[in-house]
Symmetry: C2
Subunit: 232 residues, 2 copies
Amino acid sequence: MGLTPEDVERLDDIVKRTRPLHRGDFLFRNGDRFRSLYVVKTGSVKSFAPSPEGGEQVLGFHLPGEIIGLDAIEKDAHACSAKVLETSAICEIPFGRLEELTASIASLQHQMYRLLSKEIAHDTDMLLLLGKKSAEERLAAFLISMSKRLQKRGLSPTDFYLSMSRHEIGNYLGLAVETVSRLFTRFQDEGLMLVDRKHIQLLNLEALDGLVGGAGPCRQQQNRARAPVAGD
Amino acid sequence: MGLTPEDVERLDDIVKRTRPLHRGDFLFRNGDRFRSLYVVKTGSVKSFAPSPEGGEQVLGFHLPGEIIGLDAIEKDAHACSAKVLETSAICEIPFGRLEELTASIASLQHQMYRLLSKEIAHDTDMLLLLGKKSAEERLAAFLISMSKRLQKRGLSPTDFYLSMSRHEIGNYLGLAVETVSRLFTRFQDEGLMLVDRKHIQLLNLEALDGLVGGAGPCRQQQNRARAPVAGD
DNA sequence: ACCCCGACTTGATCCAGGTCAAGCGTCGGC
DNA sequence: GCCGACGCTTGACCTGGATCAAGTCGGGGT
Protein backbone atom coordinates (compact mmCIF):
# COMPACT_ATOMS: atom_id res chain seq x y z
CA MET A 1 0.00 0.00 0.00
CA GLY A 2 2.74 2.38 -0.96
CA LEU A 3 5.13 1.73 1.91
CA THR A 4 8.77 0.88 1.33
CA PRO A 5 10.14 -2.13 3.20
CA GLU A 6 12.05 0.33 5.31
CA ASP A 7 8.85 2.13 6.24
CA VAL A 8 7.26 -1.15 7.18
CA GLU A 9 10.16 -1.92 9.43
CA ARG A 10 9.85 1.40 11.16
CA LEU A 11 6.19 0.77 11.72
CA ASP A 12 6.91 -2.72 12.90
CA ASP A 13 9.38 -1.39 15.42
CA ILE A 14 6.82 0.54 17.39
CA VAL A 15 4.27 -2.27 17.56
CA LYS A 16 4.18 -4.10 20.88
CA ARG A 17 3.18 -7.74 20.94
CA THR A 18 1.57 -8.63 24.20
CA ARG A 19 1.12 -12.09 25.61
CA PRO A 20 -2.18 -13.71 24.71
CA LEU A 21 -5.23 -12.35 26.48
CA HIS A 22 -8.12 -14.46 27.71
CA ARG A 23 -11.88 -14.27 27.73
CA GLY A 24 -13.01 -11.41 29.89
CA ASP A 25 -9.73 -9.49 29.89
CA PHE A 26 -9.99 -5.81 29.13
CA LEU A 27 -7.90 -4.04 26.52
CA PHE A 28 -9.01 -0.81 28.09
CA ARG A 29 -11.95 0.50 30.03
CA ASN A 30 -14.26 3.40 29.59
CA GLY A 31 -12.48 6.44 31.01
CA ASP A 32 -8.93 5.14 30.68
CA ARG A 33 -6.35 7.54 29.36
CA PHE A 34 -5.84 6.97 25.65
CA ARG A 35 -2.35 5.70 24.84
CA SER A 36 -2.54 3.11 22.11
CA LEU A 37 -4.52 1.62 19.32
CA TYR A 38 -5.00 -2.13 19.33
CA VAL A 39 -5.05 -4.58 16.46
CA VAL A 40 -6.54 -8.02 16.77
CA LYS A 41 -4.14 -10.70 15.48
CA THR A 42 -6.20 -13.75 16.41
CA GLY A 43 -9.37 -14.17 18.44
CA SER A 44 -12.02 -11.54 18.89
CA VAL A 45 -12.90 -8.52 20.97
CA LYS A 46 -16.09 -6.64 21.70
CA SER A 47 -16.24 -2.95 22.39
CA PHE A 48 -19.10 -1.46 24.32
CA ALA A 49 -20.18 1.74 26.00
CA PRO A 50 -21.89 1.70 29.36
CA SER A 51 -25.08 3.70 29.01
CA PRO A 52 -26.05 5.96 31.90
CA GLU A 53 -28.78 3.67 33.25
CA GLY A 54 -26.40 0.83 33.89
CA GLY A 55 -26.97 -1.07 30.69
CA GLU A 56 -24.46 -1.19 27.90
CA GLN A 57 -24.46 -0.71 24.16
CA VAL A 58 -22.28 -3.13 22.24
CA LEU A 59 -20.52 -1.02 19.63
CA GLY A 60 -18.78 -3.69 17.67
CA PHE A 61 -17.13 -7.06 17.44
CA HIS A 62 -13.56 -6.99 16.25
CA LEU A 63 -12.06 -9.83 14.29
CA PRO A 64 -8.45 -10.45 13.28
CA GLY A 65 -6.97 -7.59 11.29
CA GLU A 66 -9.32 -5.01 12.75
CA ILE A 67 -8.29 -2.00 14.77
CA ILE A 68 -9.70 -0.75 18.04
CA GLY A 69 -9.61 2.57 19.82
CA LEU A 70 -9.95 5.11 17.03
CA ASP A 71 -12.79 6.88 18.80
CA ALA A 72 -10.56 7.78 21.73
CA ILE A 73 -8.16 10.13 19.95
CA GLU A 74 -10.28 13.22 20.25
CA LYS A 75 -10.85 13.26 23.99
CA ASP A 76 -7.52 11.57 24.72
CA ALA A 77 -9.54 9.10 26.76
CA HIS A 78 -11.48 5.97 25.98
CA ALA A 79 -15.21 6.53 25.77
CA CYS A 80 -15.88 2.82 25.56
CA SER A 81 -14.44 -0.40 26.92
CA ALA A 82 -12.96 -3.31 25.02
CA LYS A 83 -13.20 -6.84 26.33
CA VAL A 84 -11.66 -9.99 24.89
CA LEU A 85 -14.25 -12.59 23.89
CA GLU A 86 -11.91 -15.57 23.58
CA THR A 87 -8.21 -16.24 23.93
CA SER A 88 -6.72 -13.67 21.60
CA ALA A 89 -3.45 -12.20 20.42
CA ILE A 90 -3.52 -8.43 20.35
CA CYS A 91 -0.94 -5.91 19.15
CA GLU A 92 -0.60 -2.56 20.76
CA ILE A 93 0.44 0.53 18.79
CA PRO A 94 1.39 3.51 20.92
CA PHE A 95 -0.43 6.36 19.26
CA GLY A 96 2.19 9.01 19.99
CA ARG A 97 4.82 7.01 18.19
CA LEU A 98 2.44 6.34 15.34
CA GLU A 99 1.72 10.03 14.94
CA GLU A 100 5.43 10.76 14.65
CA LEU A 101 5.74 8.12 12.01
CA THR A 102 2.77 9.27 9.96
CA ALA A 103 4.15 12.80 9.98
CA SER A 104 7.25 11.64 8.17
CA ILE A 105 5.77 8.98 5.89
CA ALA A 106 3.14 10.54 3.65
CA SER A 107 1.67 7.27 2.45
CA LEU A 108 1.30 6.08 6.02
CA GLN A 109 -0.48 9.27 6.92
CA HIS A 110 -2.82 8.66 4.04
CA GLN A 111 -3.49 5.11 5.22
CA MET A 112 -4.25 6.46 8.64
CA TYR A 113 -6.79 8.90 7.28
CA ARG A 114 -8.32 6.12 5.25
CA LEU A 115 -8.55 3.93 8.31
CA LEU A 116 -10.33 6.59 10.31
CA SER A 117 -12.58 7.38 7.39
CA LYS A 118 -13.44 3.74 6.95
CA GLU A 119 -14.53 3.57 10.54
CA ILE A 120 -16.84 6.52 9.97
CA ALA A 121 -18.29 4.96 6.83
CA HIS A 122 -18.87 1.75 8.73
CA ASP A 123 -20.65 3.51 11.56
CA THR A 124 -22.78 5.20 8.94
CA ASP A 125 -23.84 1.81 7.63
CA MET A 126 -24.77 0.78 11.13
CA LEU A 127 -26.88 3.91 11.53
CA LEU A 128 -28.85 2.92 8.47
CA LEU A 129 -29.20 -0.58 9.84
CA LEU A 130 -30.47 0.54 13.23
CA GLY A 131 -32.57 3.38 11.91
CA LYS A 132 -34.40 1.72 9.08
CA LYS A 133 -34.08 -2.05 9.06
CA SER A 134 -36.29 -4.77 10.50
CA ALA A 135 -35.06 -7.40 12.92
CA GLU A 136 -34.74 -9.91 10.10
CA GLU A 137 -32.68 -7.55 7.96
CA ARG A 138 -30.44 -6.71 10.88
CA LEU A 139 -29.59 -10.27 11.71
CA ALA A 140 -29.07 -11.16 8.06
CA ALA A 141 -26.76 -8.17 7.70
CA PHE A 142 -24.85 -9.27 10.77
CA LEU A 143 -24.32 -12.76 9.41
CA ILE A 144 -23.26 -11.46 6.00
CA SER A 145 -20.86 -9.06 7.64
CA MET A 146 -19.27 -11.81 9.73
CA SER A 147 -19.03 -13.98 6.66
CA LYS A 148 -17.30 -11.34 4.56
CA ARG A 149 -14.89 -10.32 7.27
CA LEU A 150 -13.87 -13.92 7.94
CA GLN A 151 -13.42 -14.52 4.23
CA LYS A 152 -11.17 -11.49 3.99
CA ARG A 153 -8.91 -13.18 6.52
CA GLY A 154 -8.86 -16.41 4.57
CA LEU A 155 -11.25 -18.22 6.88
CA SER A 156 -14.39 -20.03 5.86
CA PRO A 157 -17.18 -17.57 5.03
CA THR A 158 -19.86 -20.19 5.55
CA ASP A 159 -18.74 -22.23 8.54
CA PHE A 160 -17.65 -20.53 11.72
CA TYR A 161 -18.09 -20.19 15.46
CA LEU A 162 -19.56 -17.13 17.08
CA SER A 163 -17.50 -16.00 20.02
CA MET A 164 -20.22 -13.75 21.36
CA SER A 165 -23.47 -14.65 23.10
CA ARG A 166 -26.96 -14.19 21.67
CA HIS A 167 -27.38 -11.51 24.26
CA GLU A 168 -24.44 -9.57 22.88
CA ILE A 169 -25.62 -9.98 19.30
CA GLY A 170 -29.03 -8.67 20.26
CA ASN A 171 -27.58 -5.76 22.13
CA TYR A 172 -25.37 -4.90 19.17
CA LEU A 173 -28.30 -5.01 16.73
CA GLY A 174 -30.78 -3.26 18.96
CA LEU A 175 -32.85 -6.42 19.45
CA ALA A 176 -33.95 -8.53 22.39
CA VAL A 177 -32.20 -11.87 22.95
CA GLU A 178 -35.47 -13.66 22.30
CA THR A 179 -35.80 -12.07 18.89
CA VAL A 180 -32.30 -13.14 17.92
CA SER A 181 -32.99 -16.67 19.05
CA ARG A 182 -36.29 -16.84 17.17
CA LEU A 183 -34.69 -15.52 14.01
CA PHE A 184 -31.90 -18.08 14.15
CA THR A 185 -34.55 -20.75 14.45
CA ARG A 186 -36.52 -19.29 11.57
CA PHE A 187 -33.50 -18.92 9.28
CA GLN A 188 -32.69 -22.53 10.00
CA ASP A 189 -36.26 -23.66 9.29
CA GLU A 190 -36.08 -21.78 6.01
CA GLY A 191 -32.92 -23.63 5.08
CA LEU A 192 -30.77 -20.52 5.06
CA MET A 193 -28.36 -21.76 7.71
CA LEU A 194 -27.57 -24.37 10.28
CA VAL A 195 -27.27 -23.32 13.88
CA ASP A 196 -25.81 -25.50 16.56
CA ARG A 197 -25.04 -23.59 19.67
CA LYS A 198 -22.28 -21.21 18.59
CA HIS A 199 -21.49 -23.13 15.47
CA ILE A 200 -22.91 -21.43 12.38
CA GLN A 201 -23.09 -22.75 8.86
CA LEU A 202 -24.50 -20.50 6.18
CA LEU A 203 -26.21 -22.56 3.50
CA ASN A 204 -27.51 -19.83 1.25
CA LEU A 205 -25.47 -16.66 1.17
CA GLU A 206 -27.43 -15.24 -1.76
CA ALA A 207 -30.80 -15.55 -0.06
CA LEU A 208 -29.35 -14.08 3.10
CA ASP A 209 -27.89 -11.22 1.12
CA GLY A 210 -31.28 -10.70 -0.49
CA LEU A 211 -32.86 -10.33 2.93
CA VAL A 212 -30.61 -7.48 3.87
CA GLY A 213 -32.63 -4.85 2.11
CA GLY A 214 -32.06 -4.85 -1.62
CA ALA A 215 -35.07 -6.94 -2.46
CA GLY A 216 -38.02 -7.79 -0.27
CA PRO A 217 -41.59 -6.57 -0.75
CA CYS A 218 -40.52 -3.19 0.50
CA ARG A 219 -41.77 -3.71 4.01
CA GLN A 220 -41.45 -0.79 6.38
CA GLN A 221 -40.72 2.29 4.32
CA GLN A 222 -41.30 5.30 6.40
CA ASN A 223 -40.35 7.73 3.69
CA ARG A 224 -42.96 6.84 1.16
CA ALA A 225 -40.82 7.57 -1.88
CA ARG A 226 -43.34 10.03 -3.29
CA ALA A 227 -42.99 8.46 -6.67
CA PRO A 228 -44.42 10.74 -9.31
CA VAL A 229 -42.75 13.99 -8.34
CA ALA A 230 -40.89 15.11 -11.39
CA GLY A 231 -38.45 17.94 -10.80
CA ASP A 232 -36.58 16.26 -8.02
CA MET B 1 -4.87 24.96 19.18
CA GLY B 2 -1.15 24.89 18.77
CA LEU B 3 -0.87 26.53 15.36
CA THR B 4 1.38 29.48 14.71
CA PRO B 5 -0.14 32.46 12.87
CA GLU B 6 1.97 31.41 9.92
CA ASP B 7 0.46 27.93 9.96
CA VAL B 8 -2.99 29.41 10.08
CA GLU B 9 -2.19 31.50 7.06
CA ARG B 10 -1.00 28.48 5.14
CA LEU B 11 -4.19 26.68 5.99
CA ASP B 12 -6.21 29.71 5.09
CA ASP B 13 -4.52 29.84 1.70
CA ILE B 14 -5.88 26.52 0.54
CA VAL B 15 -9.46 27.14 1.63
CA LYS B 16 -11.81 28.11 -1.18
CA ARG B 17 -14.76 30.35 -0.44
CA THR B 18 -17.59 29.64 -2.77
CA ARG B 19 -20.52 31.89 -3.54
CA PRO B 20 -23.54 31.27 -1.34
CA LEU B 21 -25.51 28.13 -2.06
CA HIS B 22 -29.28 27.88 -1.90
CA ARG B 23 -31.86 25.47 -0.61
CA GLY B 24 -31.70 22.25 -2.57
CA ASP B 25 -28.20 22.73 -3.96
CA PHE B 26 -25.89 19.78 -3.62
CA LEU B 27 -22.40 19.99 -2.17
CA PHE B 28 -21.78 16.57 -3.63
CA ARG B 29 -23.76 13.51 -4.55
CA ASN B 30 -23.48 9.88 -3.68
CA GLY B 31 -20.87 8.41 -6.01
CA ASP B 32 -19.02 11.64 -6.78
CA ARG B 33 -15.27 11.49 -6.78
CA PHE B 34 -13.93 12.73 -3.44
CA ARG B 35 -11.92 15.93 -3.77
CA SER B 36 -12.66 18.19 -0.86
CA LEU B 37 -13.97 18.52 2.61
CA TYR B 38 -16.61 21.18 3.23
CA VAL B 39 -17.11 23.43 6.21
CA VAL B 40 -20.38 25.19 6.88
CA LYS B 41 -19.84 28.90 7.55
CA THR B 42 -23.48 29.94 7.80
CA GLY B 43 -26.72 28.10 7.10
CA SER B 44 -27.16 24.35 7.29
CA VAL B 45 -26.70 21.19 5.31
CA LYS B 46 -28.10 17.70 5.54
CA SER B 47 -26.21 14.61 4.49
CA PHE B 48 -28.02 11.46 3.54
CA ALA B 49 -27.47 8.08 1.97
CA PRO B 50 -29.91 6.66 -0.52
CA SER B 51 -30.86 3.19 0.70
CA PRO B 52 -31.23 0.45 -1.92
CA GLU B 53 -35.04 0.44 -1.86
CA GLY B 54 -35.29 4.04 -2.96
CA GLY B 55 -35.72 5.60 0.42
CA GLU B 56 -32.98 7.55 2.11
CA GLN B 57 -31.33 7.64 5.51
CA VAL B 58 -30.56 11.11 6.80
CA LEU B 59 -27.10 10.85 8.33
CA GLY B 60 -26.79 14.25 9.86
CA PHE B 61 -27.58 17.94 9.91
CA HIS B 62 -24.57 20.18 9.71
CA LEU B 63 -24.52 23.57 11.34
CA PRO B 64 -21.96 26.37 11.07
CA GLY B 65 -18.48 25.28 12.05
CA GLU B 66 -19.10 21.65 11.21
CA ILE B 67 -17.25 19.66 8.62
CA ILE B 68 -18.66 17.39 5.93
CA GLY B 69 -17.21 14.61 3.83
CA LEU B 70 -14.91 12.78 6.22
CA ASP B 71 -16.50 9.46 5.38
CA ALA B 72 -15.39 9.71 1.75
CA ILE B 73 -11.62 9.56 2.26
CA GLU B 74 -11.37 5.82 2.34
CA LYS B 75 -13.08 4.97 -0.92
CA ASP B 76 -11.98 8.21 -2.57
CA ALA B 77 -15.66 8.67 -3.44
CA HIS B 78 -18.65 10.04 -1.63
CA ALA B 79 -20.90 7.37 -0.17
CA CYS B 80 -23.56 9.89 0.71
CA SER B 81 -24.98 13.12 -0.65
CA ALA B 82 -25.03 16.55 0.95
CA LYS B 83 -27.81 19.01 0.25
CA VAL B 84 -28.10 22.58 1.41
CA LEU B 85 -31.17 23.20 3.59
CA GLU B 86 -31.20 26.99 3.42
CA THR B 87 -29.10 29.72 1.85
CA SER B 88 -25.64 28.90 3.17
CA ALA B 89 -22.01 29.87 2.91
CA ILE B 90 -19.74 26.89 2.55
CA CYS B 91 -15.96 26.63 2.43
CA GLU B 92 -14.25 24.00 0.40
CA ILE B 93 -10.94 22.46 1.48
CA PRO B 94 -9.19 20.43 -1.21
CA PHE B 95 -8.18 17.30 0.63
CA GLY B 96 -4.96 16.71 -1.29
CA ARG B 97 -3.66 20.12 -0.28
CA LEU B 98 -4.76 19.56 3.26
CA GLU B 99 -2.89 16.27 3.43
CA GLU B 100 0.31 17.98 2.29
CA LEU B 101 -0.16 20.58 4.95
CA THR B 102 -0.84 18.15 7.75
CA ALA B 103 2.28 16.21 6.80
CA SER B 104 4.42 19.23 7.54
CA ILE B 105 2.56 20.70 10.51
CA ALA B 106 2.43 18.17 13.32
CA SER B 107 -0.17 19.99 15.36
CA LEU B 108 -2.43 20.26 12.34
CA GLN B 109 -2.07 16.56 11.72
CA HIS B 110 -3.08 15.97 15.30
CA GLN B 111 -6.13 18.18 14.88
CA MET B 112 -7.06 16.25 11.80
CA TYR B 113 -6.89 12.96 13.69
CA ARG B 114 -8.96 14.47 16.44
CA LEU B 115 -11.55 15.65 13.96
CA LEU B 116 -11.90 12.24 12.41
CA SER B 117 -11.99 10.62 15.80
CA LYS B 118 -14.65 13.02 16.97
CA GLU B 119 -16.81 12.04 14.06
CA ILE B 120 -16.45 8.39 15.04
CA ALA B 121 -17.30 9.15 18.65
CA HIS B 122 -20.35 11.08 17.52
CA ASP B 123 -21.55 8.26 15.30
CA THR B 124 -21.10 5.97 18.27
CA ASP B 125 -23.45 8.16 20.28
CA MET B 126 -25.98 7.95 17.49
CA LEU B 127 -25.71 4.18 17.49
CA LEU B 128 -26.62 4.15 21.14
CA LEU B 129 -29.48 6.52 20.45
CA LEU B 130 -30.93 4.44 17.63
CA GLY B 131 -30.22 1.10 19.25
CA LYS B 132 -31.51 1.68 22.74
CA LYS B 133 -33.55 4.82 23.12
CA SER B 134 -37.28 5.44 22.93
CA ALA B 135 -38.87 7.94 20.56
CA GLU B 136 -39.15 10.47 23.37
CA GLU B 137 -35.50 10.13 24.30
CA ARG B 138 -34.44 10.46 20.68
CA LEU B 139 -36.30 13.66 20.06
CA ALA B 140 -35.17 15.15 23.36
CA ALA B 141 -31.59 14.24 22.49
CA PHE B 142 -32.00 15.86 19.10
CA LEU B 143 -33.25 19.10 20.61
CA ILE B 144 -30.50 19.17 23.22
CA SER B 145 -27.93 18.51 20.54
CA MET B 146 -29.20 21.36 18.38
CA SER B 147 -29.26 23.62 21.40
CA LYS B 148 -25.69 22.86 22.40
CA ARG B 149 -24.32 23.19 18.91
CA LEU B 150 -26.01 26.53 18.38
CA GLN B 151 -24.73 27.75 21.71
CA LYS B 152 -21.21 26.75 20.78
CA ARG B 153 -21.53 29.12 17.81
CA GLY B 154 -22.74 31.95 20.00
CA LEU B 155 -26.38 31.63 18.95
CA SER B 156 -29.34 31.29 21.25
CA PRO B 157 -29.53 27.78 22.70
CA THR B 158 -33.21 28.15 23.50
CA ASP B 159 -34.71 30.04 20.58
CA PHE B 160 -34.06 28.95 17.02
CA TYR B 161 -35.50 27.93 13.68
CA LEU B 162 -35.27 24.41 12.34
CA SER B 163 -34.19 24.38 8.72
CA MET B 164 -35.23 20.77 8.19
CA SER B 165 -38.70 19.29 7.85
CA ARG B 166 -40.41 17.01 10.37
CA HIS B 167 -39.99 14.32 7.81
CA GLU B 168 -36.23 14.77 7.78
CA ILE B 169 -36.05 14.84 11.56
CA GLY B 170 -38.02 11.61 11.74
CA ASN B 171 -35.88 9.97 9.12
CA TYR B 172 -32.74 11.01 10.98
CA LEU B 173 -34.01 9.67 14.29
CA GLY B 174 -35.52 6.50 12.89
CA LEU B 175 -39.08 7.66 13.62
CA ALA B 176 -42.20 8.26 11.56
CA VAL B 177 -43.19 11.87 10.82
CA GLU B 178 -46.35 11.40 12.83
CA THR B 179 -44.39 10.37 15.89
CA VAL B 180 -42.20 13.47 15.66
CA SER B 181 -45.25 15.66 15.30
CA ARG B 182 -47.00 14.05 18.25
CA LEU B 183 -43.93 14.39 20.44
CA PHE B 184 -43.55 18.07 19.61
CA THR B 185 -47.15 18.54 20.62
CA ARG B 186 -46.63 16.58 23.80
CA PHE B 187 -43.46 18.40 24.79
CA GLN B 188 -45.32 21.65 24.28
CA ASP B 189 -48.27 20.46 26.36
CA GLU B 190 -45.85 19.54 29.10
CA GLY B 191 -44.38 23.02 29.05
CA LEU B 192 -40.97 21.88 27.91
CA MET B 193 -40.96 23.96 24.75
CA LEU B 194 -42.91 26.16 22.40
CA VAL B 195 -43.35 25.04 18.83
CA ASP B 196 -44.59 27.27 16.09
CA ARG B 197 -44.02 25.81 12.71
CA LYS B 198 -40.21 25.78 12.40
CA HIS B 199 -39.69 28.17 15.27
CA ILE B 200 -38.57 26.39 18.41
CA GLN B 201 -38.24 27.76 21.92
CA LEU B 202 -36.91 25.50 24.61
CA LEU B 203 -38.41 26.43 27.96
CA ASN B 204 -36.88 23.79 30.17
CA LEU B 205 -33.48 22.54 29.13
CA GLU B 206 -32.97 20.64 32.36
CA ALA B 207 -36.16 18.62 32.03
CA LEU B 208 -35.36 17.91 28.40
CA ASP B 209 -31.88 16.82 29.37
CA GLY B 210 -33.38 14.57 31.99
CA LEU B 211 -35.52 12.88 29.38
CA VAL B 212 -32.51 11.88 27.34
CA GLY B 213 -31.68 8.85 29.37
CA GLY B 214 -29.77 9.70 32.51
CA ALA B 215 -32.82 9.65 34.73
CA GLY B 216 -36.18 8.14 33.96
CA PRO B 217 -37.68 5.05 35.56
CA CYS B 218 -35.32 2.92 33.56
CA ARG B 219 -37.82 2.07 30.85
CA GLN B 220 -36.71 -0.35 28.19
CA GLN B 221 -33.59 -2.12 29.39
CA GLN B 222 -32.93 -5.06 27.24
CA ASN B 223 -29.73 -6.05 28.91
CA ARG B 224 -30.89 -6.61 32.41
CA ALA B 225 -27.67 -5.47 34.08
CA ARG B 226 -27.05 -8.65 36.05
CA ALA B 227 -26.35 -6.59 39.08
CA PRO B 228 -24.69 -8.72 41.73
CA VAL B 229 -21.93 -10.35 39.67
CA ALA B 230 -18.75 -9.67 41.55
CA GLY B 231 -15.60 -10.36 39.62
CA ASP B 232 -16.61 -8.25 36.69
C1' DA C 1 -20.01 -38.31 37.80
C1' DC C 2 -22.92 -34.97 39.47
C1' DC C 3 -24.69 -30.46 40.10
C1' DC C 4 -25.63 -25.87 39.22
C1' DC C 5 -25.86 -21.88 36.78
C1' DG C 6 -25.94 -19.33 32.91
C1' DA C 7 -27.10 -19.45 27.98
C1' DC C 8 -30.57 -20.50 24.96
C1' DT C 9 -35.21 -21.61 23.26
C1' DT C 10 -40.12 -21.30 23.00
C1' DG C 11 -44.75 -19.68 23.97
C1' DA C 12 -48.07 -16.02 25.55
C1' DT C 13 -49.07 -11.41 26.05
C1' DC C 14 -48.46 -6.43 25.67
C1' DC C 15 -47.45 -1.95 23.83
C1' DA C 16 -44.61 1.76 21.46
C1' DG C 17 -44.71 3.37 17.58
C1' DG C 18 -45.67 2.57 12.60
C1' DT C 19 -49.35 2.78 9.16
C1' DC C 20 -53.58 4.49 7.30
C1' DA C 21 -56.73 8.14 6.74
C1' DA C 22 -58.59 12.63 7.11
C1' DG C 23 -58.34 17.30 7.70
C1' DC C 24 -55.97 21.96 7.96
C1' DG C 25 -52.88 25.79 7.64
C1' DT C 26 -49.12 28.09 4.96
C1' DC C 27 -46.52 29.23 1.47
C1' DG C 28 -45.07 29.77 -3.21
C1' DG C 29 -46.75 30.52 -7.87
C1' DC C 30 -49.64 32.86 -11.02
C1' DG D 1 -55.48 37.97 -4.07
C1' DC D 2 -56.54 33.23 -5.29
C1' DC D 3 -55.28 28.47 -5.78
C1' DG D 4 -53.09 24.18 -5.33
C1' DA D 5 -49.96 21.48 -2.94
C1' DC D 6 -47.10 20.21 0.27
C1' DG D 7 -46.01 19.98 5.23
C1' DC D 8 -47.96 19.28 9.43
C1' DT D 9 -51.27 17.64 12.83
C1' DT D 10 -54.55 14.49 14.80
C1' DG D 11 -57.22 10.29 15.36
C1' DA D 12 -57.98 5.19 14.77
C1' DC D 13 -56.00 1.03 14.21
C1' DC D 14 -52.47 -2.65 13.64
C1' DT D 15 -48.19 -5.11 14.20
C1' DG D 16 -43.26 -6.15 15.00
C1' DG D 17 -40.84 -7.02 18.40
C1' DA D 18 -40.26 -6.28 23.55
C1' DT D 19 -41.46 -8.24 27.81
C1' DC D 20 -42.83 -11.88 30.84
C1' DA D 21 -42.64 -16.60 31.98
C1' DA D 22 -41.38 -21.28 31.80
C1' DG D 23 -38.74 -24.77 30.54
C1' DT D 24 -34.33 -27.21 28.45
C1' DC D 25 -29.67 -27.87 27.63
C1' DG D 26 -24.67 -27.86 28.07
C1' DG D 27 -20.45 -27.03 30.24
C1' DG D 28 -17.40 -26.11 33.93
C1' DG D 29 -16.31 -26.82 38.74
C1' DT D 30 -15.72 -29.94 42.61
